[in-house]
Amino acid sequence: MAKITAGIACSHVPAIGVAMDQHITEQPYWQPVFEGFEFSREWNKKNKPDVVFLVYNDHCTAFDASCIPTFALGCAAEFTPADEGWGPRPVPVVKNHQELASHIAQSLILDEFDMTIMNEMDVDHGLTVPLSVMFGDKTPEDDWGTLVIPLAVNVVQYPAPTANRCYKLGQSIKKAIESWPEDINVHIYGTGGMSHQLQSERAGLINATWDQQFMDILVNEPEKARQIDHVEFLRETGSEGIEMVMWLVMRGALEEKVTEVHRHYHVPASNTAVGHLILENHA
């Protein structure tokens, strides 16, 4: 049977991708950001997933204002890294486990989550940056080293799905994956965050205390974390901090008790606080 063995939380700041693509990760500004991912890459090699279920948000790349699905599941055979206005990132095409993705779509819909099914979709930095962080430098000719099932969540237009809804979706994703007969190792990623505001006069807002507390309760008291409401995210962590609801999808797909094997937190990467967790399921 397919098994979810670990959950990974990771910010997906575009500048992290740019720093890797331009090979400037050793510069003093970037060194502390990437130092915290060294453990993760070693861990990832030892615990290599067959499939990554990757929860992220599209930044008006695949979806413009004309269509705003709350939960869109990638069911295409592959996904091309998008041109976000300065040319596509020089990274591999993302390959899906298409049969498993279709199975998850059916299972979620029958479990009463009304999913949007994407049979064509380009993917932006929200998806490729966390893969780069975990799998290291790759060229377009390489293979990512894993299959990837993308789930795009709307966090651009208010309201995003609630933390609680995201958590429940995670629980349903767990059921779907664990009812797949193939013996494969699955990791689930929750990406985005942490505190950041990109707009208007309050741009640059960071709330490190809140971020650390959020990581604590997400790991150890998810019942509390799923109750955080939108206004708290917006007020305490900045208008773009709302992306952290996507970490709840990841957490919902794990066991009640997990082991935190790695945590990394750093301010800043560009305008954002970088947060990262690796959580292992027991047994």
Binding site: A65, L198, Q199, S200, A208
Partner: protein, 130 residues
């Protein structure tokens, strides 16, 4: 319109359905600039390219003026308006500096020093006292 619990956050435009409705064509204009063919059209004839989108005169003027906060007040969303900034060759962090009324050096330093504190920046009433 119902009351909005997030309207008392200072210096912030929460992009909700009302703003989305108001800014629809402005945002669609901005996002068009993520394609080179549209960037070329806007370079060649800004007014003609803008005319393809049903923007209000205020919105068009805010585009001409590159009034970054004004664009947000007129229904623009940052992920869209940042495409206009990218068209001008402005990197995201410098755009953030402009919107918050700081020099790029001061803004960059603020981020390196841990970012803008949430203290005193949670409620509009805190800003009015200043």
């Amino acid at each position: 319109m119902t009351e909005k619990a997030y309207e008392d956050i200072p210096g912030t435009f929460v992009f909700d359905a009302d703003r989305s409705r108001q800014g629809y064509w402005l945002n669609q204009f901005c996002i068009s600039l993520s394609k080179e063919v549209n960037r070329q059209a806007f370079r060649d004839d800004p007014e003609a390219h803008m005319a393809k989108f049903k923007m209000t005169e205020d919105q068009k003027q805010a585009v001409r003026d590159r009034d970054w906060n004004g664009l947000l007040a007129l229904g623009g969303n940052i992920y869209y308006t940042s495409k206009l900034a990218a068209f001008d060759g402005i990197v995201f962090q410098d755009l953030a500096a402009m919107m918050s009324g700081m020099t790029r050096e001061d803004y960059r330093q603020m981020m390196v020093d841990g970012g803008r504190s949430v203290e005193g920046n949670r409620y509009k009433s805190e800003w009015e006292k200043k």
